[in-house]
């Protein structure tokens, strides 16, 4: 894993020790943030309205979907709840804006949402050209296909000549075009904007395959009239790291989003769960003491109080709890999203 260069600088900047390796204007800006003399429009706005406006999907089980009580649940939803717990003290102070793949970036750019937490693959174009910042990665996935068992398709190469349903504005749309060109295969795209309508078109037989990221397809398969008739192909034709997105006009907000995600993963690594975090308050472990805010005073450096990370774990849980609550029930393997020490690639910078 290549650690995100910006976080190193971001943290160092707060400690006024950045070597100036990244953007030149970052040093004075961050220093002024720390002194409270520079604008933090998103953070101020969130505090003023007393809730976080969070952009999510129109319904993808496991990541963001309303349950029977109308309560939003999912791995991406938990990111929003963690931010609300850290900033506002209450994980319930979140309002959700369901967005299609095509709407999501405009909603963020226009300030309709404070944070976009919506199975969004981080790419060069989205980061650099759209001007969106992706402070952290909260799930690793990639493009694959769901096909009917009766079609006898065993691998992607068997799909030559197939009709494939796609969603506009997704990385899948370009991943499929790239893969088929590279391997000299042909296909006919059917591009339908809404995930539900695209899925229905596939189930109705309009397409031989529907292309999306693997975990999303596993969730969609569960919704099929007869899930056993469909298979999600095991091979991934691209890498798709997901992360929450924010606008770059509020550096402090970006850091809060980043460390809210990191706090959940750090908590798992430290063995802190929502049920054990209270006992951790009396711990002698320096890592744990820093985490719960008993020493070092990291909270105020982030414009938050000392107990911000404690509240995230207490109210939302650590990363493993979030995965087990949202992803595991769908029958999706945690796979590469296990911690590095368990053979996965989840490896985040430490809280120190």
């Amino acid at each position: 894993m290549t650690p995100n260069r910006r976080w190193i600088c971001g943290l160092a900047v707060v400690l006024s020790a950045c070597s100036g390796a990244a953007r030149e204007d970052a040093v004075p800006v961050a220093a002024e943030v720390a002194r409270g003399t520079i604008a933090t429009p998103t953070l101020d706005g969130v505090r003023k309205k007393n809730f976080v406006q969070c952009g999510v999907t129109t319904g993808v089980a496991g990541f963001s979907t309303p349950d029977a009580q109308g309560e939003w649940r999912g791995l991406d939803v938990d990111v929003c709840r963690a931010i609300a717990a850290a900033v506002l003290g209450d994980a319930k102070k979140v309002r959700f804006t369901p967005l299609t793949a095509a709407q999501r970036f405009t909603a963020l750019q226009t300030g309709e949402v404070d944070v976009l937490s919506r199975i969004t693959t981080i790419t060069f174009q989205r980061d650099v050209q759209l001007g969106i910042e992706f402070p952290a990665i909260n799930w690793y996935d990639g493009t694959t296909f769901i096909v009917r068992k009766s079609s006898k398709v065993k691998s992607v190469d068997d799909l030559s000549g197939a009709t494939i349903c796609l969603q506009p504005g997704t990385t899948n749309e370009v991943d499929v075009a790239d893969y088929f060109r590279k391997h000299k295969l042909t296909f006919t795209p059917v591009v339908i904007e809404r995930l539900e309508e695209g899925t229905n078109a596939y189930f109705a037989g309009r397409c031989d395959a529907f292309s999306q990221d693997q975990a999303t397809l596993a969730a969609l398969r569960a919704r099929a009239p007869n899930p056993a008739d469909h298979v999600v192909l095991p091979e991934l034709i691209s890498r798709g790291p997901y992360g929450p997105g924010v606008m770059p006009n509020d550096l402090r907000w970006m850091e809060i989003v980043r460390w809210s995600v990191y706090a959940m993963v750090n908590a798992e690594e430290l063995g802190l769960t929502s049920s054990t975090i209270d006992r951790a308050l009396e711990s002698d472990d320096p890592d744990v003491r820093r985490f719960v805010g008993a020493s070092d005073g990291f909270g105020p450096m982030l414009s938050l109080d000392a107990a911000w990370a404690y509240r995230i774990v207490k109210q939302v849980g650590n990363y493993a709890e979030s995965v087990e609550r949202n992803i595991t029930p769908l029958g999706i393997e945690r796979g590469v999203n296990r911690l590095w020490k368990d053979g996965g690639v989840m490896y985040v910078p430490p809280l120190r």
């Binding site: 095509a102 989205r126 001007g131 079609s151 000549g161 591009v191 309508e197």
Partner: protein, 349 residues
């Protein structure tokens, strides 16, 4: 903002007779006011553009039309214009425009034909014919077009799979993947032309010509919806012709067909053409509902483009400009036709 609504400026009479030219001072005053109005509008547009550009820069969002020359990276369902993912965004948008024009123009021709038939049928003396036409018009007019499109699209999905495809004529196959027809192939030797029949292979049919379910559903939906509206316009136009005219023609011994062709329709056309022109424009604009069923029209391609490039303002502005050009051209065409009809037809009552 620029409005996408292009008002059809088809006039029934050109110029207002009997109004004397205004004095010079009044003309100057009118000119000054109009110039002022134009200046205010221009200033507002400029202010909006400046504000948008400043905000885009402040948020680090790329702007400009450079993206048009970049490789699109996505695929579009096969159509008359060749396209691959290595072609540019400009070409992708061109393919979208062509798809829009294809379905719109075909839709206009079919809707007009069906609409005229409906209008005449509603005036029929045969009760059953009039009642069926009326029922059709009411159903089409009173349900949302989007619902109708989804209905035709799902109806097509209910067709059999490629392997059990309906085969009404030799070489013609109908299944949920589309309609597959034999297509002519030109050859150098005798007999110069041969038919290539679609053959079941792999996931569906290969070879020959094909009509996709998306295109078919969109064409049927637009045609049926618009034909109902045109039918009503035709009926209104025919009723607007004084009854005495056809009675007089009948007294001269003309047949019913000739009365319609020589006396009623030439006069009715003046009433029919202007509102029909606006229905044509509506049909073109309604074709953007294609997005819902996955037909790659201009809006669908624009949608993908603005998502892949993130340049929403440019992409939407481009699409708006294109629809404006299409609508204004259509309007102009209908104006020319209308003027020709007026010149040819002499005077009405």
């Amino acid at each position: 903002m620029i409005s996408t609504q292009a008002t059809p400026s088809v006039s029934i009479r050109s110029g207002l007779p009997g109004i004397a030219p205004r004095p010079r001072a009044a003309r100057v005053r009118a000119f000054v006011w109009q110039a002022l109005a134009v200046a205010v509008v221009a200033a507002i547009v400029a202010a909006i553009a400046f504000q948008a550009a400043t905000n885009l820069r402040a948020r680090g969002i790329a702007s400009g039309f450079d993206f048009l020359d970049r490789a699109a990276g996505f695929e579009i369902a096969r159509g008359p214009i060749e396209f691959s993912s290595r072609d540019t965004y400009a070409r992708a948008l061109l393919v979208g425009l062509f798809n829009t024009l294809r379905v719109s123009l075909l839709g206009i021709v079919l809707a007009t034909t069906l609409g005229v038939a409906l209008g005449v049928a509603r005036l029929s003396n045969v009760w059953v014919v009039a009642a069926i036409a009326r029922g059709y018009v009411e159903v089409m007019r009173n349900t949302p077009l989007l619902l109708q499109l989804l209905f035709w699209y799902s109806l097509w999905q209910a067709l059999p799979a490629p392997r059990e495809a309906l085969n009404p004529l030799p070489g013609v196959f109908l299944c949920f993947r589309g309609l597959f027809l034999p297509s002519p192939i030109w050859q150098t030797g005798y007999p110069w032309i041969s038919m290539e029949r679609p053959v079941l292979a792999g996931f569906g049919f290969q070879g020959g010509a094909s009509v996709s379910p998306e295109f078919a559903a969109l064409l049927v939906g637009l045609t049926m919806y618009t034909s109902a509206l045109i039918g009503e316009i035709v009926r209104g136009g025919v009723l607007a012709v004084d009854k005495g005219q056809s009675e007089a023609a009948a007294a001269l011994g003309l047949s019913r067909i000739r009365i319609l062709r020589l006396v009623v329709l030439p006069q009715a056309l003046r009433v029919i053409i202007p509102p029909t022109a606006s229905q044509f424009l509506n049909l073109v604009k309604n074709s953007t509902l294609a997005v819902a069923i996955g037909y790659p029209d201009l809006i669908s391609i624009t949608n993908t483009t603005l998502n892949q490039t993130g340049q929403a303002i440019e992409a939407i502005a481009l699409a708006m400009a294109v629809y404006l050009v299409v609508s204004v051209s259509l309007s102009l065409g209908m104006n020319v036709y209308n003027t020709a009809i007026l010149r040819r037809g002499g005077h009405t009552t």
